[in-house]
């Protein structure tokens, strides 16, 4: 197909200063798209034989140890940095991870989608730990770079960043960057996992990395493996870790597999495929009840 990807076009021209929806919506034919009817969607249809090739994923976290055998080669390693004036910039950095959280998440993603192209965006650094501004800057960069899947195993509790994160999550959604975010299992309000435009993930207590469940009682929409996960550990080792942080890269990996087989799926279609291929949904469809 020679036409530009529809989620990468500039959109229809419209009056300056007015929102896009003020442009006329009638009189133009819909763009021809290879829309799939999603008939017969099964796990085999969704990701059978896929390895993530051709899909670009970004782990927005504490950095990734690029030399780790469970992580493999990184396409790129960048970081949000604060200059002397406190301005935040994005620059290439060595693939290092002093904390280890990002390395663990990247290793999980790689274990599911071995051929995915992995990039690390570090937003948790020594000087700006927990800074919502760094998270916003890093996430905005990843969305503008057009990654297919962005894994975010962290959240901010600062409400002043809620609106901006909401806008970023929607921008990602319409640019076909799938934001996969770990749900917060504490009685606090945090962002952006709570937004409907992202895929939010909590943990189940089973061991199969490809088993996940659709949760009919959101906001956490899916449950994936988050218990005793064999994860990459800084220094080249591995550790068994438990928590929602490690459930979301499982879903990120599965989404990378699906997109490598079905690159035309948009986030809402992909979420539908995730739903239709979830273990509990498949079981009900096949007449089993669990």
């Amino acid at each position: 197909m020679t036409t530009a990807l529809p989620w990468r076009t500039d959109g229809k021209p419209h009056a300056p200063g007015l929102p896009a929806w003020s442009a006329p919506t009638a009189g133009e034919p819909l763009a021809l798209l290879p829309i799939d009817g999603l008939a017969g969607v099964t796990p085999e249809w969704a990701w059978g034989g896929a390895d993530g090739r051709g899909v670009r994923a970004c782990v927005v976290d504490s950095g990734v140890e690029g030399s780790h055998p469970l992580v493999g080669e990184l396409a790129r390693s960048v970081s949000v940095l604060s200059d002397a004036d406190g301005e935040l910039t994005v620059a290439d950095v060595p693939p290092e991870d002093k904390a280890g959280h990002g390395t663990a998440c990247a290793g999980v993603l790689r274990s599911i989608a071995p051929a995915v192209s992995l990039t690390s965006m570090r937003v948790l650094t020594d000087g700006i730990t927990g800074s919502g501004a760094a998270l916003l800057a890093g996430l905005a960069w990843a969305i503008d770079e057009g990654f297919d899947v962005i894994n975010l195993s962290l959240s901010t509790t600062r409400p002043e960043f809620g609106v901006a994160l909401h806008e970023l999550a929607d921008r990602a959604y319409f640019r076909r960057c799938l934001l996969v975010v770990s749900a917060h299992n504490m009685p606090v309000r945090s962002y952006p996992w709570i937004f409907s435009s992202v895929v939010s993930v909590a943990s189940h207590d089973e061991q199969d990395p490809m088993t996940y469940y659709y949760n009919p009682s959101p906001p956490a929409e899916f449950f994936a493996r988050g218990l005793k996960v064999d994860a990459a550990w800084p220094g080249g080792g591995r550790k068994r870790v438990t928590g929602n942080s490690f459930a979301s890269p499982h879903i990120s990996g599965i989404c990378a597999l699906i997109l490598s087989k079905h690159p035309w799926l948009t986030p809402f279609q992909l979420k539908s495929v995730l739903y239709l291929s979830a273990r509990n949904v498949v079981n009900v469809r096949e007449g089993e009840h669990d």
Binding site: D61, S62, K98, A99, G100, H101, L124, T125, D126, G127, T129, G130, S153, L154, S155, T156, T157, R158, P159, E160, S182, H184, N185, M186, P187, V188, S190, S203, H204, D205, G226, L227, K228, W233, G235, G237, K239, R240, V241, T242, G243, N244, S245, F246
Partner: protein
């Protein structure tokens, strides 16, 4: 002992210690501890410990973003890491900083409104009848309760409504001496003043 908001009050010490004591007993753990975040430096400060490392750890500071507690403070998510002691690098660092090398660490952030105030950490949880995921959830609930307590005490301190703390230690002794000296007869006051003057000289000479 200090935190980001100034000296930690006796009530705050008691609250934090009771949180760690309850958590340690609830999980049958080797130790439970509370770190508070120093907002100036981003460091985590050991404020209360129950069990292994009791006492001498209080006041120890850890650089931002390091260790399991650092992860948890950074990403805001409770988590559990098993078999940490197998890692030689980790074991050495843990032994040097705390004197105890755990097999497992479970930690949850103390979050109140929009702020991470610190971290509640459990070392070597014992029997786990609830299962690991339920333990992590339960720790999250305990951490939320602790955070509410810390926030309330901090607010009281800021508004000046906190009850005056009973003084203890050297400061209390100096305070008592000062007030008694003010009402003592002249002969006693002269002797005490000379004595204190000698103490001062002795300290200055060292």
């Amino acid at each position: 002992m200090t935190s980001a908001d100034g000296p930690v009050s006796l009530t705050e010490q008691q609250l934090l210690w009771s949180v760690t004591e309850a958590a340690r007993n609830l999980f049958g753990a080797a130790a439970a501890s509370v770190f508070l975040l120093d907002k100036e430096t981003g460091e985590l400060v050991f404020e209360a410990v129950s069990g292994e490392g009791d006492g001498h750890l209080v006041g120890t500071r850890f650089p931002p973003g390091t260790g399991i507690a650092g992860w948890v403070a950074s990403c805001g998510q409770p988590m559990l890491v098993d078999e940490v002691g197998d890692d030689a690098q980790f074991a050495r660092a843990a032994a040097e900083s705390t004197g105890y090398v755990p097999r497992s660490i479970m930690a949850a952030p103390l979050i109140r409104d929009s702020e991470c105030l610190g971290v509640l950490e459990i070392l070597d949880s014992g029997s786990r009848p609830r299962g690991d995921l339920q333990d992590v959830d339960l720790l999250g609930i305990l951490a939320a309760q602790a955070a509410i307590g810390v926030e309330l005490l901090t607010k009281l301190r800021r508004t000046g409504n906190a009850e005056p703390e009973p003084e203890s230690g050297l400061a209390a002794l100096m305070g008592r001496i000062s007030s008694r000296l003010a009402t003592a007869d002249k002969q006693t006051a002269d002797v005490v003043t000379r004595l204190l003057s000698n103490v001062d000289d002795l300290l200055a000479a060292r």
